[in-house]
């Protein structure tokens, strides 16, 4: 009798080990990237942002500044989707499509409902299937005629991340601190630390930049002395 139990538990353990093994082998990349200087990496990222290619994939973001619930949804795999823009700030995950120059689309799936955000030149729309409402957020007046360029960059998060990175590099130290696999892509990790003279609670900002396409894949903001990111946003898979 006891042998039967042992063998069936061994089968179960083998299956679990197999699944974990497959997941682990998928997570780790193959080769290491050639070393690169921070400036060269930033320049390549800037070039990549200037001649943009459409990007889509699964994204996830967390916000440690707003306390959230520990429960992610009882009796069901997923929690509910946010029903307004403010709900997005709590953190979440979804699918993102970016077509540089024309717009973005974000689809956040929850249990039984979706929250969709569409941004383009004509403004930002959200649709919540939980409440059955669509909301249009008009862009500030004048953006259409006098200053079309900021609109385009505000709509394109990838270009915005690249631009912000270049601004920040002036007041802190920038270093390439190795490789990391983000969203299944071998990526450079660019770590930006504030200069020693500046009093701040900010520990560091880490940006993972795809080693092949130089597209920023993940941004993490760390508080001083903290090992888990306070804010993070990035792709979990790129397609």
């Amino acid at each position: 009798m006891s042998r039967r139990y042992i063998i069936s538990f061994a089968v179960a353990a083998l299956v679990v080990a197999g699944v974990v093994g497959v997941a682990a082998s998928r997570a780790q990349g193959g080769t290491t990237l050639p070393s690169i200087s921070p400036a060269a990496l930033l320049a390549k990222a800037a070039t990549a942002a200037k001649s943009p290619t459409p990007v889509s994939g699964d994204v996830a973001w967390t916000n440690g500044l707003i306390p959230g619930s520990d429960l992610t949804g009882l009796l069901g795999g997923q929690g509910s989707a946010p029903s307004s823009l403010a709900g997005l700030a709590m953190g979440g995950s979804g699918r993102l499509w970016v077509q540089p120059g024309s717009g973005v689309r974000l689809d956040v799936q929850g249990s039984g409902s979706d929250f969709v955000l569409v941004g383009g030149k004509s403004g930002v729309w959200t649709y919540s299937s939980a409440t059955g409402t669509a909301v249009q957020y008009a862009l500030p007046a004048g953006t259409g005629t006098s200053a079309p360029k900021p609109t385009a960059s505000a709509v394109d998060p990838l270009a915005a991340i690249t631009k912000g990175l270049q601004h920040f590099a002036a007041t802190g130290t920038v270093a390439v601190t190795g490789d990391q696999t983000v969203a299944g892509r071998q990526s450079y990790v660019l770590t930006i630390t504030p200069a020693a003279g500046i009093t701040t609670t900010l520990g560091s900002v880490r940006v993972a930049i795809d080693g092949a396409t130089y597209v920023p894949l993940q941004v993490q903001v760390f508080a001083k002395g903290d090992t888990t990111p306070t804010l993070s946003a990035g792709f979990t898979s790129v397609s």
Binding site: R4, Y5, I7, S8, V11, A12, V15, V16, G18, V19, V20, A23, D58, D70, L71, T72, G73, L74, L75, G76, G77, Q78, S80, R95, D107, Q109, G110, S111, G112, S113, D114, V116, Y127, S129, A130, T131, G132, A134, S237
Partner: protein, 269 residues
């Protein structure tokens, strides 16, 4: 095949089969009735999501019904039917007589599994057809609005509903296989059914807390909702394929273990 047809005869001859089916049929009916009677109440928008949208479109009633059922009633029925197949025979003392004939134990186990799958599939067909008929009578059939906001044709809506049901069926087969495995250990069908349900509920609770997020990909319960990706445009295939692979691994492992135990089990009663 002969074993399976015999099992089907037994299934249709038992009263308890019809109780489960009646319960499954009742859910979409009650839901439609509640939504229909509440249709003029403009202050109450219902529970939101698919169920609220079903208030305007009978086509969505089957999908709305499955969101309610997949959390508890379907796993319950699956573990009941899965455990009763083997342990029930032991309780009534018929399994000993049966296994004395020159039939393979693997074949017995496969036919038991097959008949349990057929039972759950018939239950799901009842939910879908019942919900569709009730929904059509109450609200009519219209081109459905997907969760992501797009409108698709009635045919596409029915096709997506069918795919959703097939996905849920595979998920429920996991619970059923779990119950069948437990039924090979014990001679009490209630014990096996409760054990399977306990495992499902523990998995649900582990999946509900963010601390155990690292476990989530390996629990089949956290994949049970992934069919909702079918209702977004473009379809979110990634969680669906992950879910199906997870279900397949569970089903093969559970049935493999059940076969190993049952093949050499001493039948004493």
């Amino acid at each position: 095949m002969m074993l399976l047809s015999r099992e089907l005869t037994k299934l249709f001859a038992q009263k308890r089969s019809y109780v489960g089916w009646a319960g499954l049929l009742l859910v979409p009916m009650l839901m439609t009735l509640a939504l229909y009677l509440n249709r003029n109440n403009t202050h109450d928008h219902g529970p939101g999501g698919i169920i609220s949208q079903a208030m305007h479109n009978g086509l969505l009633i089957p999908v709305a019904a499955i969101t309610l059922l997949s959390a508890f009633l379907l796993p319950l029925l699956a573990s009941m039917i899965g455990s009763y197949q083997l342990a029930g025979e032991a309780e009534t003392g018929t399994i000993k007589t049966w296994l004395m004939h020159s039939i393979s134990r693997g074949g017995v186990l496969a036919s038991k599994w097959g008949v349990a799958v057929i039972y759950v599939a018939i239950g799901l067909v009842l939910v879908a057809v019942g919900g569709l008929v009730a929904g059509a009578l109450a609200f009519g059939l219209h081109a459905p609005v997907l969760l992501s906001g797009q409108t698709v044709s009635i045919g596409a809506g029915l096709w997506l509903s069918l795919l959703s049901y097939l996905y849920v069926l595979v998920g429920v087969i996991c619970v059923l296989s779990l119950a069948l495995l437990f039924a090979t250990f014990t001679n009490s069908s209630l014990t096996a059914a409760i054990a399977a349900l306990v495992v499902v509920i523990v998995m649900n609770i582990l999946g509900a807390f963010s601390y155990f997020n690292f476990l989530k990909p390996y629990l089949f319960t956290s994949h049970l909702d992934a069919w909702q990706g079918l209702l977004s445009q473009p379809i979110d295939w990634h969680p669906i394929t992950t879910g199906l692979i997870t279900f397949a691994i569970y089903i093969v492992a559970l049935m493999g273990a059940a076969w190993y135990v049952f093949r050499r089990k001493d039948i004493l009663v």
